[in-house]
Symmetry: C2
Subunit: 289 residues, 2 copies
């Protein structure tokens, strides 16, 4: 997808607004550490691509929305990695935030990033306030309760977990926010964009499961095979590698087919195909053969 | 101050929106537990009083703003109580959230309440979007970095703590959001209301220090004398009880004097005095004599 440099610079501006006079230095450093360098930035790139598809490429509103979605994603990674949940030592090829700093700072970094995400869109939409209420609603639905990331994560604290709901909340919801938020930032009707977010989110989750089983630690930026080690329910455990890859391909086809008629429809369909190749490169799939 | 029933019912509506289909049941129960029954609800009552002072009593926008401020306050209590910070066993006369549920749920409850606070104002301001950007900015400044609650809390992770900054961020900032947010919700200029929030926040902090030293566990709803046990820097340690009470009284006088000319000015000055008596009742002060 597109707009990578715009996203990085929007994230830099947002982080710099925290890393300012009065901020305790370790917190400031840890906020920056949690956001840079990033991963694939797939959610914000998706958001920007939809805004462009809706006729507003490179719009400051879309870029701010994209950056806020990424800040919310980073917040969820920092809190998921904490000792009481995954106790992850490594993230993006280096120590997780609570390992590099400490648990207290990691707790506060997650909180600060959630708050920053809403501050960032509020600032950007000051001149287009009509678009702000629905945008904030879309973001909050994606990360809060009852249907967002926090709810998804809380299923890990129950005796039994409804798998589909768990995945939809923990992964799908923020992908939906990326497509819906992209449309809303462009002043477009978000409804036709939900399915694209939903199917891409599910495809991403399956690709993640497949990569966890087939890729190396270094390729992943964290220990591979962790799902199997933790006995997590994954698409692989259900379908096997070949079945999971087939399911991934059918989701990508559905995602591409769901793209509504709009100025950038053709361009978006190509992007979905490119993204699919990036998620599951042929070189990786050969290992499954 | 006023509007207590409106605040409780707005909090109930907000919490019920989490406690909905799809929410993991333990998370839903813990969110409710963190918000009800509440403490004095001093911040949301202050917010409502300012909106009334600005000519919009009982406005749904003010009530929503007040409820969101209380949700942010509850979130900060839940995260501050966690084992990595205060490891508080008791809050509001019963087990803290992580004791009643567990640490993972308490982490997620704090996250969910922060998100809910922004969702709640976004929903309420859908028909008055012009007022939303500045309101969200005021709320986020009060709770995030570099100058809000999260930053204040992060000073506890540094080798040395600038006391005034620490208190202003950890306590003062949300009081400022209460007065500024009350004015913004009413479409009024927030600038003249900052000093009232600042001075009341400082007075509240000092009253809290005095109560911690003089009140019983039951009156406080948590163990008394905790500041001294933890060797925390307080107004008492600096000024002694009599000096702290004097400082409290001078802050209350400054707060009352700061109230700008507005339809409800006289009423607000009376409320500040009543609140001062509630914060430090004569019966408590007799113990210091």
């Amino acid at each position: 997808m597109e707009g990578a440099s715009g996203i990085e610079s929007a994230l830099e501006t947002a982080v710099a607004s925290c890393d300012a006079l009065g901020c305790p230095p370790r917190l400031a450093a840890a906020i920056r550490y949690a956001v840079f360098p990033g991963g694939a930035r797939i959610r914000p790139r998706l958001c920007l691509a939809i805004a462009a598809g809706c006729g507003e490429p490179e719009s400051p509103l879309a870029i701010a929305t994209a950056a806020s979605i990424e800040l919310l994603h980073c917040a969820s990674l920092v809190h998921d990695d904490l000792p009481c949940f995954d106790d992850a030592e490594v993230r993006r090829n280096r120590p997780s935030v609570h390992r590099a700093f400490d648990e207290r700072i990691a707790l506060l970094v997650g909180d600060a990033l959630i708050v920053l995400a809403f501050q960032n869109v509020a600032r950007a939409f000051a001149q287009s306030p009509d678009r702000l209420p629905n945008l904030v609603l879309a973001l909050t639905r994606a990360v809060g309760a009852p249907g967002g990331i926090v709810a998804g994560q809380a299923w890990e604290c129950e005796d039994s977990t409804p798998l589909e709901e768990y995945r939809r909340q923990k992964t799908g919801a923020l992908f939906i926010a990326a497509t819906v938020g992209g449309a809303l930032s462009a002043g477009a009707d978000p409804t036709p964009w939900r399915v694209l977010g939903e199917t891409l989110g599910e495809a991403y989750q399956i690709a993640d499961d497949i990569r966890d089983a087939l890729a190396t630690d270094e390729e992943l930026g964290k220990p591979a095979g962790r799902d199997a080690d933790l006995g997590r329910p994954t698409a692989l455990a259900e379908l096997g590698v070949q079945g999971a890859v087939k399911h991934f391909e059918s989701l990508i086809a559905r995602a591409a087919a769901s793209i509504p008629e709009c100025p950038g429809a053709e361009f978006l369909r190509e992007l979905v195909d490119l993204e699919a190749q990036r998620l599951l490169p042929a070189s990786l799939l050969q290992r499954a053969a």
